[in-house]
């Protein structure tokens, strides 16, 4: 998938961080205006941002998760997310997109686990992972933060055809 960003691939980490800040663990005493995963839970409850009839890319556009300053990188990022329905996932019967959307719906549903969420990439050339979306619940993706997360990992590989 990384190839879809072309030479804007340098922004992939930053764009994932947009997600990671909005969906990260809420801070009790923050200077940030965003409220982390508690804010997302309220937005999901009120507006059903994540729905089975809406792709993850559409929800990401709605939440403005494409950055502010670089339209080309933003559009490429959303184009990359648009490919998720064509990918497989670590859950049988679910595309990469459905895997993410269903996991987020369940996480933020009333009575859900309400875990902060983290997005990262894995090397799709590695046979251990493959070119699929992997979602892990109760993961500790950031070793210096002692909190359980819902981790979404997108398959990436350098250059060549997207996968």
């Amino acid at each position: 998938m990384g190839a879809l960003m072309a030479d804007d691939d340098i922004y992939i980490g930053t764009l994932m961080d947009q997600f990671n800040l909005r969906f990260g663990a809420s801070q009790k005493d923050a200077e940030l205006t965003g409220g982390g995963h508690n804010e997302i839970a309220v937005l999901q409850d009120e507006f059903k941002i994540f729905r089975t009839d809406r792709t993850f890319a559409q929800s990401a556009r709605l939440l403005g998760l494409g950055g502010l300053q670089n339209n080309r990188a933003k559009n490429r990022w959303f184009n990359l997310l648009d490919v998720l329905p064509k990918l497989g996932s670590d859950k049988a019967g679910e595309t990469g997109d459905q895997r993410i959307v269903n996991a987020l719906i369940a996480n933020f549903a009333p009575g859900g686990k309400l875990l902060p969420c983290f997005m990262k990439a894995h090397d799709s050339r590695d046979s251990k992972y493959g070119p699929i979306v992997i979602v892990t619940e109760g993961d500790r993706p950031i070793f210096y933060i002692e909190k359980d997360y819902l981790t979404i990992s997108l398959p990436m590989k350098p250059g060549g055809k997207p996968a």
């Binding site: 205006t33 409220g35 937005l43 009120e46 507006f47 709605l62």
Partner: protein, 231 residues
């Protein structure tokens, strides 16, 4: 205006404060257009969550009139269309920024029962008034002057709302720590007390809705309404 210049100014003169706000938001809308970013919100859902809370003030079972102070490009109208299309609402949007109002008028040009007014005060008495995010961006104004601006704005919202008004504030960081420079945040007590003392109204505080802010709903007491409104 420099901070020092502002401090020397008559705290009663709010014209420089309003000019600063107009200039700030004109620059925002020039950069981001008629979008949530153009009025300093992160996205449509957070912008509309604020509308959800502010509009807890209103009774949608019958038609009413509403002033939207600091209306921006009129995003509230789109929200009302989406959620309350069955209720007839006579809407007036007021904003300090001429550039913002140009976009609002263009966006809603063929719309009945919608008008926009340039200025800092509601031009009429309506059933309700709402104001979203107008107290957050303090810029370089000293606290005393900014709070005077807040107080005067609340006064005029009260004067021009026959059934009540609703506003929101950023919540101050815990432990009395200062907020980011240029932003005004406060604990609810400060302005709840003001509304009680000044208007005889018990303000309802809506809090803990995921954003670092709270909403004040100030309903008029029916028995004192007429004395104040129609003077």
């Amino acid at each position: 205006m420099t901070t020092a210049g502002a401090m020397e100014a008559d705290p009663g003169d709010l014209a420089p404060v309003r000019a600063g706000i107009a200039s700030y938001y004109s620059a925002k809308v020039a950069k981001f257009g008629a979008t949530p970013l153009g009025v300093d919100w992160s996205c449509v859902p957070t912008q509309e969550l604020r509308f959800v809370k502010l509009l807890k003030l209103c009774d949608f079972s019958s038609p009413f009139s509403c002033n939207d102070l600091g209306c921006g490009y009129g995003a509230l109208i789109a929200y009302l269309d989406q959620r309350h299309a069955d209720c007839a609402i006579d809407y007036v949007g007021i904003d300090l920024s001429e550039a913002m109002l140009r976009r609002a008028r263009r966006l809603w040009r063929n719309r009945a029962n919608v008008s926009f007014v340039l200025g800092h005060a509601n031009p009429r008495v309506a059933d309700y008034s709402v104001a979203s995010g107008i107290f957050n961006v303090q810029l370089d104004q000293p606290l005393a002057i900014w709070e005077r601006f807040v107080a005067e704005t609340l006064d005029q919202l009260h004067r021009t709302s026959s059934r009540g008004f609703a506003v929101n504030f950023m919540k101050a960081p815990a432990g009395g720590k200062p907020d980011r420079k240029g932003l005004y945040s406060t604990q609810p007590d400060r302005w709840v007390r003001y509304c009680a003392d000044r208007f005889g109204s018990a303000a309802e505080v809506l809090d803990n809705y995921g954003l670092r802010e709270y909403t004040l709903i100030v309903r008029r007491q029916p028995n004192i309404c007429d004395d104040i409104i129609w003077q």
